[in-house]
């Protein structure tokens, strides 16, 4: 049964408390949030297999720390969308501001528009698919997971990256320290095909290049100092 919640009329705390109260076997599996009006912390800390649809644009930290839930923003999201996500799915129909999916451990973050700077900073296992472009310093210190960019990437992509995979279809303005282009092997095509499919993108996996760690930052090297 669909629950509709007017955020302007009823406030944020009551909304998040109601969403937090949903158990694994809840029958209130479908929620619609109207009048988000750029509010912060909408649908944060969820831990139930529910679907939350936000009708409009949101502010900071939308769907942060998500577990299990599917959160769909029908608008744009402010800084830190799906920050530290553990599992589940977050979809943003519009653009996402800086550090989308930062430190995420798992789950899938889909941004249908562009993501700005620091997308996937310090990602630790999350999968992020951006249909448009990403800004500078994306995947900075990325540790695990996949960042897929169907458009272009800004300056210093993958700076100081550990072991995440970065797939970019368009141009890369510059690569960060210790980030290099790598061979696209059949297993990477398969990973990418699955992610693009789940993210609703019709981009062809063969059109992407793969980037990752040169693994040269583990020891001090003067060329990596600025």
């Amino acid at each position: 049964m669909m629950q509709t919640y007017d955020l302007q009329a009823n406030g944020l705390r009551e909304l998040n408390a109601a969403l937090h109260a949903q158990a694994n076997d809840t029958n209130q599996t479908s929620w619609e949030i109207v009048n988000p009006r750029g509010s912060h912390a909408v649908a944060v800390g969820l831990d139930a297999p529910i679907e939350v649809s936000v009708k409009g644009s949101t502010g900071y930290y939308t769907a942060g720390m998500n577990k299990q839930a599917t959160v769909h923003v029908h608008g744009s999201a402010g800084p830190g969308v799906a920050e530290n996500m553990m599992s589940g799915t977050v979809v943003v129909e519009g653009d996402a501001s800086q550090y989308a999916g930062a430190t995420g451990h798992g789950g899938l973050l889909v941004i249908k528009g562009n993501a700005s700077s620091r997308c996937g900073i310090s990602m630790k296992g999350i999968n992020i698919v951006v249909h448009g472009n990403v800004g500078h310093m994306s995947a900075f210190m990325a540790q695990s997971g996949n960042l897929v960019v169907c458009g272009d990437a800004g300056d210093a992509l993958g700076d100081s990256i550990y072991e995440a995979r970065l797939f970019v279809r368009g141009s890369v303005k510059s690569l960060g320290a210790d980030c290099i282009e790598k061979e696209m092997r059949p297993e990477h095509i398969e990973i990418l095909r699955d992610l693009l499919d789940r993210a609703g993108s019709d981009a062809k996996p063969e059109e992407f290049k793969r980037y990752g760690s040169a693994r040269q930052l583990y020891n001090f090297k003067i060329d990596n100092a600025y």
């Binding site: 009006r37 750029g38 502010g59 653009d95 800086q98 700077s117």
Partner: protein, 309 residues
């Protein structure tokens, strides 16, 4: 933190609402910085007079007879319209800069907030709702304006530490961020003869732009140069007599959202600040790129996307 808002009207029908729209936008940003607030309003031009907006700690005494003293110093008619701790001095057309210089002699305790033909700056310590109410900003009309609510990091919470800062004739600046080389830059600018009043970092940023423009740069060139010479974090929104500009530092960690419709161009630190603007549901909303100068003026056809200056 700090919150910035800006509104540049393309549709003249909205001009009577400028103060009300800006006030609403600024109040929404209160929790980004509650210690002081200010608004710059560009009103209708009066070809017979230029304006000096002034402020005093003790306005009852300080404004008493001030118009006469200024009239004597300038050799022409001067009127004073008081608004709480501020007053607008209308001086003979083209004498705004001369008036600002004369004020330092005539009434050293009275501070110049702004000078120009259409610009008025109002700022005080306190919450945006209280600052806007004491000056009745919501009743003001105009073509464009910018507002700021401050969370002080680099200097004391005072009226002079509040934004906007006046950078030149009809020019002003608001800032979200913190400049880290403001002490060395202040010393350099003071050696160049630029007057800097406080220990505030943004005042140095404003003085830097003034200095660049005194040396022949356009505002756009001065903003481009700031990307090289200012160290630290900044989102700047600037106002000129007929325009409105935005620039972010290359790191761009301070938030910024812009919206454009046929009726206006708007800036907010967050989307929340824009949600009550007319037609926002169908506006083009985007995040300004780092290290890119954006500018809009009334003189030119509306820019479809960005750049200029």
């Amino acid at each position: 933190m700090c919150g910035i808002v800006g509104l540049f009207l393309k549709d003249k029908a909205l001009e009577p609402q400028l103060g009300a729209l800006l006030t609403d936008m600024l109040i929404t940003m209160t929790d980004r910085g509650p210690d002081s607030a200010g608004i710059a309003i560009y009103g209708a031009e009066d070809t017979s007079a230029s304006k000096l907006t002034v402020q005093a700690e003790d306005p009852d005494t300080a404004f008493d007879g001030l118009a006469d003293k200024m009239a004597a110093a300038l050799g022409g008619p001067v009127t004073l319209t008081r608004n709480d701790t501020h007053a607008v001095l209308r001086v003979p057309a083209g004498k705004a800069e001369e008036a600002r210089t004369a004020l330092r002699e005539v009434a050293p305790d009275v501070r110049a907030m702004s000078f120009g033909d259409t610009l008025e700056i109002y700022k005080e310590v306190g919450l945006p709702k209280d600052v806007a109410a004491r000056f009745d900003i919501a009743k003001m009309s105009g073509t464009h304006g910018i507002g700021h609510t401050r969370m002080a990091t680099e200097s004391a919470v005072t009226t002079l530490g509040a934004h906007p800062f006046n950078t030149g004739l009809d020019q002003c600046l608001v800032h979200n961020g913190s400049l880290s080389n403001h002490n060395s830059l202040r010393r350099k600018l003071q050696r160049e003869g630029i007057h800097i009043e406080t220990k505030n970092d943004t005042e140095v940023g404003a003085a830097y732009l003034t200095w660049k423009m005194q040396n022949g740069a356009t505002l756009g060139e001065a903003l481009e140069a700031s990307l090289e010479d200012l160290d630290g974090f900044f989102n700047f929104v600037v106002g000129t007599k007929d325009g409105f500009g935005v620039v972010r530092d290359p790191i761009a960690c301070k938030p910024a959202v812009m919206a454009e419709t046929d009726q206006y161009v708007a800036f907010g630190s967050e989307y929340r600040a824009l949600v009550n603007l007319p037609g926002i549901e169908t506006a083009r909303v985007w995040e300004p790129e780092p290290a890119t100068v954006y500018f809009w003026t009334h003189d030119q056809a509306p820019t479809p996307s960005k750049k200029a200056a």
